[in-house]
Point group: C3
Chain length 400, copies 3
């Protein structure tokens, strides 16, 4: 049911609304919404069929330049973003977009999350993220009890309860897809995520604006990590990661051995064991940090900007394994590092929300399609870093 | 395919039948079935869409006065019953009626059941109910082995295999919705539940008649607890619970502290820790016990009557937490108390069914909509209690 | 979209293809495909509805004599095969064909697999099969970690990603149904199963040809066991199992007590505890072994032939329990015995696949419908056995 308000009001269409019992398909096009705009943009739903993708809904946002595939069924994750010859995304051993009902997070020693892991952007959280293993919680009797946390929490396997498309009728015609994902349970967290993915028509950029709210009556811990995963073509032998950082710390001995080359990537290597680097990003004068992954020729890249005041920690996951095993790197702005929550709590990196309180987090992405754009982004990163030299730890810190 | 038998035969319509591969929608109305009846009653199915409710089917029975929402997809639970300004039900932090495929009972230390918990009436059982934790069982080799029981068992997350609607053509035109839920596995329980929800047209009352049958060839334990959960408007500061009881025992020290006020309720209180009271209900001369929850003004209430010979134990769960955390009380007639099955077995409260044997359990509910009705119900409860004074334990009994 | 190639090319129709987003129904009949063939064969899909079977797709292949029910939604298992008065299959306590989203393998101490177990042929594997319990694996950090294996692994609860029907246009018009099932995860196995079920029009026989491929870049363990389960009418008091074997070893003391009668079956017996016999089958000159289950009158039977070079181990599972508890025997050609993988690895029975390597396994089944066919099959088995006398162990071997 398209909204037919006047031209001043943005276009709005509800795709999912559990209270109103709506789960609708849609095909929204520039021709019908932005009559004065020559760009041929669209927002379309696709219902996936067959195998473990049966029942998954995709929303494909094409702004005329970028094509973004959003997955409301999997916690509003983003499967891929394509612009010309650049694809933000990777080729996981998991080939389908897996419906949550086929994922058991408890599987394989708490690593079941990996059976559905193939997105470009997957949120980890919200009650917990990080490594599996035992942590404590307060049970219904008000007593401390223990539970086995599972890798990276639940939010990526929760479907959106609300989903709507909003399009500004005035140039530059920002397209917004807003979704709500609840991680709520009796005697547990009552966390609500409102996320907005938006992009302007014809732009090479897109933005994620998230707000997490504690809908419970008591204080509530939460964790959030944006697992942004990129493979070919940006990742290749000779690719570089750039970020202004205060400190870089290898997470373990394996990572420590290669810490001198932490920002450079090699080609696919069978048997490669992941290397993880924990960073404290630096903010520029505008309060933002800027990071980039660029290819070996430095003529293609992805930039990612965010506020360290919102997401103070940044993890670089280097997994330059064989293509068949998942050749990928993860750039992970977060509220902490991806260790088990028990360790993160001890380190003071598990934020808490008072009853009713919210926390906002925004991430700005752009696809860089020329040597000039890559150079300008590198220069901007260098300017932020110029405040101070990064500390690069030779050894893992214990505790981190 | 409505049944077109003569007026003497009841109307019958099959909604679900797995053997005949049927899962049908229906809209059954007084106009087409009970031509001589002026009341505008109906039985309608609703297919829920979006989020975690995708795939859930509801059956809404409107007898012209009560509107009952039944959930065949969730073990024939009852989401809510509405009559005028009274709603039997509550506002759980879990806002959707959750499809079982989104519930992992093993989650959060065996508390995953809570992620789908928001019904007015939810059955706990049938192989086990009560607190999670280790218990023994006999495995396929005939050996004693251990398993981690999960909170309140499986039955609330099993969909009905059969469902049919039957309407008496003669006044008072009882509407019956009958469903079968199997909890059957190889080398495990072969328990079959046939449940009938029924109500007469224009009545303020409804009845649940359950029969559990052991379809296995050996003796089989089972547990059943009817978790009947009520929030506003019946629950408020000053609400009262009335029941004729032989004995009331607080389940732990937290409950013991307030045992003197166990039958009174306070308003919502952030940080309130649940208080649980274990009762042995008294039967009147007709073999029935009668309980009531009424509001502070004693002009609205819910009565619940059952036979202690069928359900000898009654638990009162007081959870007058903040609205946001679930302001609710549970009145829970059962075959035992909601402890872990291992403890209940030691206490002799885990019944067994011989091969092929059945056990019936019936519960009669009514919505009381006037001070007069509340008073009469209170008087009836007092008459049953007049046999003997209740024993109120000051301390938890160990064992219970 | 039926393929309309010329008569020389086989008929092909795609039923499932996740890459092309296809999950289609089909009704393929002899009338439209094999115009010159008088036999009325068909391949039809059935979408199951209601209860725990909601969302399960069946493919029913009727070759004019055999009717085979294949379950792409459950790992390409075979629910039953019917020919005249013979049914290959059994009456499990689990009465529906259960959708994987209703199965939690971790349930009941790792025995959740049993909640969906009712097929004639169910594959156990591929990362692991056998008894639940702890085993080691290599995690994402390259470290040895432990996980709780669940009974018989995942493959039976994974839906097919691809499914196609191929029919030869030339006599004897072999009908092939080919499906792909992936058991792939990040930091875990990347195993791909291509399975082909085929039968000739009018034949009493059918064949399973499986190829397992390691799509990962490193060496990968796998296990595969074909759990072929038969109840009435072939299983009855006086039924016999015949197989040429090098050695028969009871798996435990319970089985040891009856090892002298391991090949004979009794009628249903309440409280019967399963007896499991581990065998090394003998191959004939053609490299094949031949086994048979026949009824008491020796006028009905099922033969099963395979290559010990492909499947070197054979387990006989005798479970002549009461009908209500599952009266059934399992004939289980496999890459090992159904113990926990940790034990099987120590015994050298967990095969490994190099990166990109495949292993083929084929099984040929026939329904024997006369005393003559049964006698000829028994004679053929005796000829293979005539090479050497079987060793029958009186006691369980430790280790096996």
């Amino acid at each position: 049911m398209p909204n037919s308000a006047g031209p001043a009001e943005p276009f709005r269409q509800t795709l999912i609304n559990t209270e109103r019992n709506i789960n609708a398909s849609a095909e929204i096009t520039g021709r019908s919404v932005t009559l004065d705009c020559p760009t041929d943009w669209s927002v379309r739903t696709i219902a996936l069929r067959g195998g473990k993708q049966e029942g998954v809904d995709l929303v494909v946002i094409d702004n005329g330049r970028l094509r973004i595939s959003l997955i409301p069924t999997r916690g509003m994750g983003i499967f891929e973003v394509v612009m010309g010859d650049v694809r933000l995304g990777w080729d996981s051993p998991v080939r389908e977009i897996v419906h949550p009902s086929f994922v058991t997070l408890q599987s394989r020693g708490g690593l079941g999350w990996l059976e559905g892991f193939n997105e470009f952007i997957v949120r980890c959280g919200m009650e917990s993220c990080g490594a599996p293993g035992v942590d404590t919680f307060i049970n219904n009797n008000g007593d401390e009890a223990t539970m086995e946390l599972t890798l990276h929490g639940k939010v990526a396997n929760l479907p959106a309860q609300e989903l709507e498309v909003i399009v500004e009728r005035q140039p530059p015609h920002r397209i917004r897809v807003r979704g709500r994902v609840d991680e709520r349970t009796m005697f547990g967290p009552k966390l609500e995520l409102w996320t907005e993915l938006s992009t302007e028509i014809g732009s090479n950029a897109f933005r994620i604006c998230d707000v997490i709210t504690n809908r419970g009556a008591g204080e509530q811990e939460f964790q959030m990590l944006y697992h942004c995963n990129v493979g070919r073509p940006l990742l290749q032998a000779g690719s570089t990661f750039l970020a202004p950082v205060e400190r870089v710390t290898p997470i373990n001995e394996t990572a420590a051995k290669s810490v001198g080359r932490y920002a450079q990537f090699s080609g696919p290597q069978a048997g490669f064991v992941e290397q993880v680097y924990c960073m404290r990003p630096l903010a520029g004068e505008d309060g933002r940090t800027l990071t980039m992954l660029c290819n070996a020729h430095r003529d293609r890249g992805m930039s990612l900007s965010f506020r360290p005041s919102e997401l103070p920690y940044l993890t670089l996951w280097k997994n330059t394994a064989a293509e068949a095993d998942g050749y990928v790197t993860g750039i992970e702005p977060a509220t902490g590092f991806p260790q088990n929550r028990a360790l993160e709590r001890k380190a003071g990196r598990v934020p808490r929300l008072a009853a009713g309180a919210s926390r906002s987090m925004a991430l700005d992405f752009a696809v860089l399609a020329s040597a000039d754009e890559v150079r300008r982004c590198a220069d901007a990163i260098a300017r932020v870093q110029s405040q101070r030299a990064p500390v690069v730890d030779e050894k893992p810190a214990k505790p981190l």
